[in-house]
Amino acid sequence: MKQIRISINGTEYQVTEHSNLAAVLMDKAIANRRSVTGEPRMAVCGMGSCGECRVTINQQAHQLACLLQCCDGMEVDCEP
């Protein structure tokens, strides 16, 4: 399977092309977002209904990672 590069919070990672972005973040134990009281959160429903997997992609905030496949050069930012 083809490997591609994406950046997450400024660090480069090699991932399998077309792998689900929420799955990649969960595997690397990187929280997708901070809740409004500051808790770290990761994907829950995996199907676009809960919104917990939101991340910023290529400068666009609030994208649902669970509905997205990784593609080469993707820049992902999670709330610190």
Binding site: A23, V36, R41, A43, G46, L67
Partner: protein, 408 residues
């Protein structure tokens, strides 16, 4: 001009509807927000469907398949879509709704920790290449999904530490007996049983807390047991995605769309199939989908031949609902400071003083976040008996630009 048949949802129900509608010369459009057809269970393509259903994928070439397209709303004659090319409208003569279901999540201490996921949620992530081999997983909640997903994950090398089902054993056995006379279901049950031999399976048991630093590390059960794990997958059943049906004004009963034997809803030219009409699994979805596809294209003869299977599927659906009814103790899991609304971090204590769902929304912001009540609405309905209020356009959150239609 040929008839415009539009099908929303490319899961088993929608695919089956597309297949039977394509036996006519109708102009068929099949819409799904996901990148791949197959819905929750066959997501990933025809390889995931049982052999007897693979032909349903075949006809995708003969119809307009619109992937990564969200249906945002509907009026009497048209749908409002957000497509990868921007917003669009689509006219229909017949509309078949096959929006499927989502999981019911109930709040308990620690359920917001990272790596506490839905059961179907974990399944979807694993299909999306989350490495699960060697990972310790606890699967908890209620319903046949627990066992189905446990066996799938085990096949991929996960260490299933426990399957935790809240239903009492007598009820489960009664459900088992009801499968007699349903050979496919019997076979499936036997396969699961084999796959999960040696896997701890607790009945009459439920999660009371998830604990861990930064992510889940162990779970606590009501029997006092503590189990260490890397993932906790839990859900308490399924909730139909009725938003679009509601927006169209279709009649609902007990959170499902009411249909007649032709899968017709209370609205003219609008049909509903699959989980929307009652949780019943892929067989029910396929039969109902086929019937709607036939009826919508005037092929009543073919539809009527499926009547008996339809009745059987619906009966199974009712047995399922009765067998996996939730026990009242689950209402006590959430503590005062447990978050109920994850989008806005609203706690149980904040909600307890509210007189209604509407008031809770206005005063606490519960249900006002990105999930729009898809998660907390199911929970508060169970906890407080609050019924959901209006469904608003757009039924899926999209960008401002996606709401700007060229002409309407």
């Amino acid at each position: 001009m040929s008839l415009n048949v539009v099908i929303v949802g490319a899961g088993p129900a929608g695919l089956a509807a597309a297949w039977s509608a394509s036996q006519s010369n109708a102009n068929i459009t099949l819409i799904d927000q996901a990148a791949q057809a197959g819905g929750q269970i066959w997501r990933g393509g025809q390889g995931y469907a049982p052999k007897r259903y693979r032909h349903l994928f075949g006809q995708q070439t003969t119809l307009h398949y619109r992937k990564q397209t969200h249906v945002l709303g509907a009026s009497e004659q048209q749908l409002y879509l957000a497509t990868p090319q921007g917003p669009q409208q689509l006219r229909y003569d017949r509309l078949i709704l096959a929006n499927g279901a989502r999981e019911l999540f109930l709040p308990f201490p620690g359920w917001t920790l990272p790596k506490v996921v839905g059961v179907g949620g974990l399944q979807a992530l694993v299909k999306g290449s989350l490495p699960i081999a060697g990972k310790r997983v606890v699967i908890a909640g209620s319903g046949p999904l627990l066992i189905a997903v446990a066996s799938q994950l085990k096949q991929r090398g996960a260490i299933i530490k426990a399957v935790v089902e809240q239903v009492p054993i007598a009820q489960l056995l009664r459900f088992g007996r009801s499968l007699v006379g349903n050979p496919t279901k019997m076979l499936q049950a036997a396969q699961f049983a084999q796959a999960l031999a040696n896997t701890p399976f607790y009945v009459n048991t439920w999660i009371t807390a998830a604990e861990g630093e930064g992510e889940v590390q162990q779970v606590q059960l009501n029997n006092g047991q503590r189990i260490e794990c890397d993932y906790l997958a839990c859900s308490w059943g399924l909730i139909a995605n009725t938003e679009l049906a509601q927006q169209l004004g279709c009649r609902l009963e007990q959170n499902f769309v009411v249909v007649d034997r032709s899968q017709h809803t209370s609205r003219d030219q609008v049909y509903a199939v699959g989980e929307l009409t009652g949780i019943g699994g892929e067989d029910k979805a396929v039969i109902e989908g086929q019937i709607a596809g036939f009826v919508a294209t005037g092929n009543y003869q073919a539809a009527s031949q499926l009547a008996q299977q339809q009745a059987q599927a619906r009966q199974f659906s009712q047995q399922l609902a009765a067998s996996f009814a939730l026990r009242p103790e689950l209402r006590q899991l959430a503590q005062a400071n447990t978050i109920v609304c994850r989008c806005e971090d609203v706690t149980l204590a904040q909600l307890q003083s509210q007189p209604s769902w509407r008031s809770a929304k206005l005063q606490t912001r519960c249900g006002m976040g990105i999930c729009q009540g898809r998660v907390c609405g199911g929970a508060t309905q169970y906890l407080f008996g609050w019924s959901q209020d209006s469904v608003r356009f757009p039924i899926h959150s999209v960008s401002v630009a996606d709401l700007v239609m060229e002409s309407v």
